[in-house]
Subunit: 498 residues, 2 copies
């Protein structure tokens, strides 16, 4: 058995190197690669995916994983979880013919490049055939894996174990019921909160200093984490010693990059604090996309948009932007970054309207995969739902259906993670508050207790615990969206004085 | 046979993807990777090198290459050259035991990271054990490959086919003889040329604009080539559609980054102009390091430091730095960037003293590999030779033995390429001048005829032609260092009025 485990760990080392290489290639593509290199990039990704496919579906590996799985009771906890996860991963891949797997990988790389340009050019038509193929492949792959299951449920499950349409329909139904009247009330009261100063010109050079400061406040170790600049911020990691967050600076929207750094910083903290004993293991990463988004959105909103946090960081903001913030108080800043106004762009949305952006994407991708919505109809349907859910008119596809990168990267079934994550976050912080005075620490600019608590309850486990186990461990109870509804309702009531 | 060729091309596609991945990992390491990630990076490089070793030494590949080699007369020209090169590459690798190959790859990655820090800290001692191991491995690998040959000759040969100590001793002897008196004369006349304005403070933001302009002057297509910022400028490429040049900005040395962009731009042009028919082939790159450096140094010096070029670009320099260049004429700028003063840093050296920097490294690495110089003695010997050859005192190792990245990256035998390349360049331009009025085109800021000529005579062939064939093709004669000696002598005489 010991020999088998050694063989398996050797394999994991090799797989880690491949993942690392593919990850860096992707990071490079997103950050600096010359545009004209997309074709070669896509071919390389295709070839490497072919190698990975061969590795993951080799009879030797399958025999090894199967044997280890059969003896899983004799394995240490880490190896047992690795084997369990791996067995499922193999099952997801081996059902796909290699040629389709490779062709899909190349398609995904090209689709990303095409989408970037399509967004710049407001040219949905050029992206449409790629999206069509991605939808078709995703549906087909889901059916290969689980022929008797609704394909969209299969897709949801891969981002958040156990999640399905039934749960989400109920979850979103509850949110709509609770938040719809609140959106109407805050919209009517929008003039009661000033936010004129958030669109004042703030030089990028100063915003970079703010990012640097905020990473320090978040206790992000720059020896292991860098901040890059891209059009569409994301976080990626190659080990707990190599985490990459990214942001985008808009001179007339200082809060935009500020909160994107806090959001991506939340993802980064999770990755930076997986247990040392997991280093090099595929378990050394966040347990699911829902839990990952719970951490990013927890930092972005529940911490980052709290009165205490603004109190702590506003002096620095004033120092960096003395003219722009001359006539602004911390309280005014706090209210401004919490102002709820229905808008066009998901990543810029306030906490209350945010979940409606997610619901729209959920409805659309559900129907795309089911085949009841075509890519031809998609932009009009996007616009219709924005009008229906948020009352806003979408002026063009760049600010509409082309705004997010997810679908171009094959991430169908991911969006609900943002809403589920937001809800997890509210429940997690409620639990945290039972253990210490969170508001006090945050208002002193001291995030260390928050980080220690989350490390202990969630981060250190990586994928050792499954999402539901993580929530149970952190909250002492199963997931309950009521915490989120209460949190949002109370916050809005307090800010608007309803 | 057709089936065999197809198999072989499939293999090359896979090898290209690996090269691409490893290249991007290395670029990422040099440009952005968090420092704390060096260990994981080094492990990944080790694992990938193990995979490449297995691929390159597999009995199947060897049988395939051998069979194709035996039928090489039936192959098209490209495939034949691929097979010839590949056969040699396999021979170089297969003589090394896999464990040593992998251990060396990991060592090289770590050594690069350690050297970066050692240079910052002026701490040769921390780098010394890594250098010791690199020297030992390089010597051992050279002996594995050619047990009966002097190891240093084997190393030289891999950067420049056919180059050996005998040729280089004679070459450098000639240069010393011709240039030593010239160095003395220019040193004595140093006060006759003003260069005070070159150390005036020039903001980085403006220098970036100058780089951008100079890339345009050099007709570098930014769709396929990006400029990055690093401590130690280099060029790398993953295909003719993905070339990366880098520079470093010093506020008080505007000419430094300017000429590093022109130098790396010369490398880039070569890669950007390999023939389309070579795309995806391992032949789609510069034929040797000597020929590569001939192109970079040709652009940096023979073109870039010519009176015509300065005449063409100086108006833009004045526009970008109006205050700093207020009291400077184009002629003064031209003379300043050609002023010859013995100095400490190779990459900043003028054309005349440059080859002495190379000779020092040549002497030292030759003796390191021969075992007649130890890594303990190296810094003192470095300093002694700088005093002897250039009359300068080395104040610390950061400005001495730690200044270049080459040895930390295992590149022993590379340095002579710079001197050989400089000499190739002089002969190539002499030949070019027979075909059209180079000075006229350059002084009009029109580099297109130069680029077209070099594309036609050198660049388009990539590795299809060997270095000696390339020189013969471009110059209509074999390599003759006299062109270089004449070029330097005439230039110095003209500038100093000897």
């Amino acid at each position: 058995m010991q020999e088998k485990v050694k063989q398996y760990k050797d394999y994991l080392r090799k797989a880690d190197a491949f993942d690392h290489a593919v990850g860096v290639l992707y990071y490079d593509f997103e950050t600096v690669m010359p545009k004209g290199a997309a074709d070669h990039f896509s071919k390389t990704m295709g070839t490497l995916s072919e190698e990975m496919y061969k590795m993951e579906t080799s009879p030797e590996l399958k025999a090894l994983v199967t044997e280890l799985y059969e003896h899983r009771d004799e394995l240490d906890e880490i190896t047992r979880r690795e084997v369990e996860e791996h067995r499922e991963q193999i099952a997801r891949i081996e059902c796909i013919p290699m040629e389709e797997y490779v062709a899909y990988s190349e398609l995904e790389s090209m689709a990303s490049a095409v989408w970037h340009q399509a967004k710049v050019d407001n040219d949905y038509e050029s992206f449409k055939p790629y999206l069509q193929k991605i939808v078709d492949y995703q549906r087909k792959f889901a059916l290969y894996y689980a022929p008797d299951k609704e394909p969209y449920d299969t897709l949801l499950d891969q981002y958040e174990k156990g999640l399905n349409k039934e749960t989400l329909d109920a979850f979103f139904g509850k949110l709509r019921e609770a938040f719809k009247p609140l959106v109407e009330k805050t919209s009517a009261a929008r003039d009661s909160i000033r936010d004129d100063f958030l669109s004042r010109n703030c030089p990028v050079e100063q915003q970079r200093k703010l990012s640097d400061y905020i990473m320090d406040v978040m206790c992000i170790d720059k020896n292991y984490c860098i901040l890059g600049e891209v059009e569409h911020p994301f976080t990626t990691e190659f080990s707990k010693h190599d985490v990459r967050i990214t942001t985008h600076y808009h001179e007339d929207a200082v809060a935009s990059s500020f909160y994107s750094v806090v959001h991506e910083g939340g993802h980064a903290l999770y990755e930076l604090h997986t247990g040392d004993e997991l280093m090099g293991s595929p378990l050394a990463e966040g347990t699911s996309m829902g839990v990952h988004e719970s951490q990013s959105r927890l930092f972005e909103n529940i911490i980052g948009r709290s009165r205490g946090f603004i109190t702590a960081v506003f002096p620095k903001i004033k120092e960096l932007f003395p003219e722009q913030m001359e006539d602004v108080t911390a309280e005014e800043f706090y209210r401004a970054v919490n102002k709820s106004v229905p808008s066009l762009i998901r990543t810029e949305a306030d906490e209350l309207t945010y979940c409606f952006h997610v619901m729209i994407r959920y409805e659309l991708e559900k129907r795309l995969i089911a085949g009841s919505l075509t890519v031809d109809e998609l932009p009009a349907e996007w616009n219709r739902l924005y009008k229906e859910y948020l009352g806003v008119d979408v002026p063009n596809d760049t600010k509409g259906v082309l705004q997010d990168s997810h679908w171009s990267g094959g991430m169908i079934g991911y969006f609900p993670s943002y809403a589920i994550g937001s809800a997890y976050g509210a429940q997690i912080v409620a639990s945290m508050k039972k253990d210490f005075d969170v508001d006090k620490a945050v208002s002193e600019g001291n995030l260390r207790p928050v980080i220690d608590w989350l490390t202990d309850k969630i981060w250190k486990y990586g994928k050792l615990k499954k999402p539901a186990e993580v929530i149970l461990n952190a909250c002492g109870a199963e997931f309950d969206p009521q915490f989120y509804i209460d949190y949002i309702t109370e916050k809005m009531n307090s800010i608007y004085g309803f």
